[in-house]
């Protein structure tokens, strides 16, 4: 096992990794920007080193300063968390070059999955169902029209290097195809430096279902159940749950096996997630793979009792997983709500500020992952995720009731948060019946009637 690990990240995920390391007996090195001097990950780590000024580009993305810190403090592993350099194959390669273990897959696996069109082709070859679409990038209108004849309308134009909804266009008729192609190419070029786009059948009202996998270097690859992340807003996940409501066991098995095939096809090691779209008839299609730990990993931890981050670190240290697929058992239902410092009444505008009060919820079945505390000043430089509340219940209704009471008792003053939004979702009749799809928020939630706080406090 490693002796000393550097966390090239901040916020709740840095705290999460420190927790795992402390349980494994690994010393930790936190790096931080000048804006994070009082951050919890800095206070909890065994050592901490300032690596730059507030802007992420000059600190958390500053590879020379991160690598210098790693060498100066003699670490033998680096955990990238999520975001920042987590899916940068170059960063993973540099770690390899200086003989520091990168807690993640090989540069090749990261690079392959980073190119959506290449990933799609590899998955198709491996027998993982993909959405019918173009065979690689399409260069011009003529090619696109040719493809549309096979897959039909509606279809979607997507950036090969894309993500987060940029460089994406839904096309409903042949007439709209050319313009959509041009706009998507221009957007992709601007956002990712590559104008490559490809076409896919547009799955209407799909659910976002993903499979957590974990693979060691001895080719033992496990799937740890499925998560439903359909509650999104502009492709940003807001609420995740496991198991997906109403998903039958045989579909879970099929999804899991497909995910394991996907991982094997690219010699994957470590923790990863295969994201699928699922249509109304429970047909599923490979969407993309995230080659890192994900924000929503706790829901899987809650229903399996496994510590994914500890296992991820162990396999990076070339240890075997120690369990087989048959040892993975599921119990109950878990939901995660992302509490962002955003104002849901103001189009989810990020709202940095000082937390004048911060009393997290507790009690049975409630887990909180956060880097915040009373008095913490949220810097304006980074993402707005403030805390993750995860509620476990023996069944979905209990998990919902528990999440509701946890959010009602969560006291945060100083900044607006997404708590009122989540309470609205939890109280929604369609959500309660498990009728979720990726455009649920647009269709079912009227943000204009959000109250400042559906509060638990006596009126």
């Amino acid at each position: 096992m490693f002796r000393k690990l550097l966390i090239a990240n901040r916020g709740e995920i840095a705290v999460r990794v420190i927790r795992a390391c402390r349980e494994l007996g690994i010393r930790t090195v936190a790096v931080y920007s000048e804006a994070d001097r009082h951050a919890l990950h800095v206070r909890l780590a065994d050592e901490a080193f300032c690596i730059g000024p507030p802007p992420a580009a000059e600190s958390y993305l500053n590879i020379p300063n991160i690598m210098s810190t790693a060498e100066l403090l003699g670490v033998d592993a680096i955990h990238p968390g999520y975001g920042f350099h987590a899916e940068n194959p170059h960063f993973s390669e540099i770690c390899q070059d200086v003989n520091i273990a990168f807690v993640g897959p090989s540069p090749e696996a990261i690079a392959l999955m980073g190119n959506k069109a290449a990933a799609r082709q590899r998955m198709k070859a491996a027998g993982v169902p993909v959405v019918p679409g173009s065979n690689g990038p399409v260069r011009n209108e003529a090619e696109a029209i040719e493809v549309s004849k096979t897959i039909g309308f509606p279809l979607i134009v997507k950036a090969a290097a894309g993500g987060g909804g940029r460089g994406m266009r839904v096309v409903h008729t042949r007439e709209d195809l050319r313009r959509a192609l041009q706009t998507a190419q221009a957007e992709a070029e601007a956002a990712f430096g590559s104008g490559e786009v490809y076409l896919e059948k547009y799955v209407e009202e799909p659910r976002h279902i993903e499979i957590q996998i974990l693979a060691d270097t001895s080719k033992n690859t496990l799937y740890l159940g499925a998560r439903d992340c359909s509650i999104q807003r502009r492709h940003q996940k807001l609420l995740e749950e496991s198991p997906p409501p109403g998903l039958r066991e045989r579909y879970l098995g099929a999804l899991g096996k497909a995910a394991v095939r996907a991982a094997h096809a690219i010699n994957y090691t470590g923790a990863g997630t295969i994201e699928f779209l699922m249509d109304r008839d429970s047909r599923f299609y490979f969407m993309e793979m995230n080659t890192r730990i994900q924000v929503e990993h706790p829901v899987t931890e809650m229903i399996t009792g496994l510590d994914i981050v500890k296992m991820q670190i162990a396999v990076a240290a070339k240890e075997k997983l120690g369990i087989n697929q048959g040892d993975v058992h599921y119990s109950g239902h878990a939901i995660e709500c992302r509490i962002n410092a955003e104002d849901p009444r103001q189009d989810f505008r990020p709202s940095p500020g000082t937390l004048t009060a911060f009393v997290p919820p507790g009690g049975p079945g409630v887990r909180v992952d956060t880097h915040a505390y009373a008095g913490y000043v949220i810097p304006p430089y980074y993402d707005s995720l403030l805390a993750k509340v995860i509620a476990w219940g023996a069944d979905r209704p209990e998990a919902i009731a528990r999440m509701r009471r946890a959010l009602m008792e969560f006291e945060i003053s100083g900044v607006p948060t997404t708590i009122p939004f989540h309470l609205m979702v939890l109280d929604n009749a369609f959500f309660r019946r498990g009728e979720v799809y990726t455009n649920f928020v647009q269709r079912r939630i009227d943000l204009s009637v959000l109250t400042p706080r559906l509060t638990a406090v006596r009126d």
Partner: protein, 157 residues
């Protein structure tokens, strides 16, 4: 009447006392010839959090980088801070003489030390004219971003 020199050790001692007293947000000490005002950073959170004060890596860097040092004589002592993470060297080579010693006069643009990072040697230069009042880092020590390396007294003749 001659101008008495600043007693830097006394200033440091006062800062130390303030740092070691968690309840104190502001400390003002005045004698006939010297007045020192120490205001602690963001009293609120810092006081709650007892770590920063006792954390070795945090305390030196707590002095703002390339800002006048936080002493009574704000307009006199200018700090030189590390612009990158790396190893601090006072000389260009192990057997060479140091770029500067305490008491030396430096000119703007004059090299005062080297920080080695990723096998590259980065020369750090003074931005001001003055006398090197204090070198705060041992030769060959690791330095973090923004760490205070030297103080330059710009009023020195």
């Amino acid at each position: 009447m001659t101008e008495p020199k600043l007693d830097l050790d006394q200033i440091r001692a006062v800062i130390k006392i303030a740092s070691e007293s968690p309840d104190v947000a502001e400390l003002e000490v005045a004698s006939e010839t010297l007045k020192v005002v120490v205001k602690k950073v963001a009293g609120a959170v810092r006081a709650v959090v007892s770590t920063p004060a006792s954390s070795p890596s945090a305390s030196p860097a707590a002095v703002p980088s390339t800002q006048p040092a936080a002493t009574g004589s704000t307009d006199q002592l200018v700090s030189i801070t590390a612009p990158m993470v790396g190893t601090f060297y006072r000389a260009a080579k192990p057997d060479a003489s140091p770029f500067v010693a305490e008491g030396d006069l430096v000119e703007p643009g004059q090299a005062v030390c080297i920080i080695e990072a990723m096998k590259l040697f980065n020369e750090i230069q003074s931005e001001v004219r003055g006398r090197v009042a204090k070198i705060l880092v041992e030769n060959a020590s690791p330095v973090e971003y923004g760490q205070l390396l030297m103080l330059v007294d710009t009023t020195a003749p």
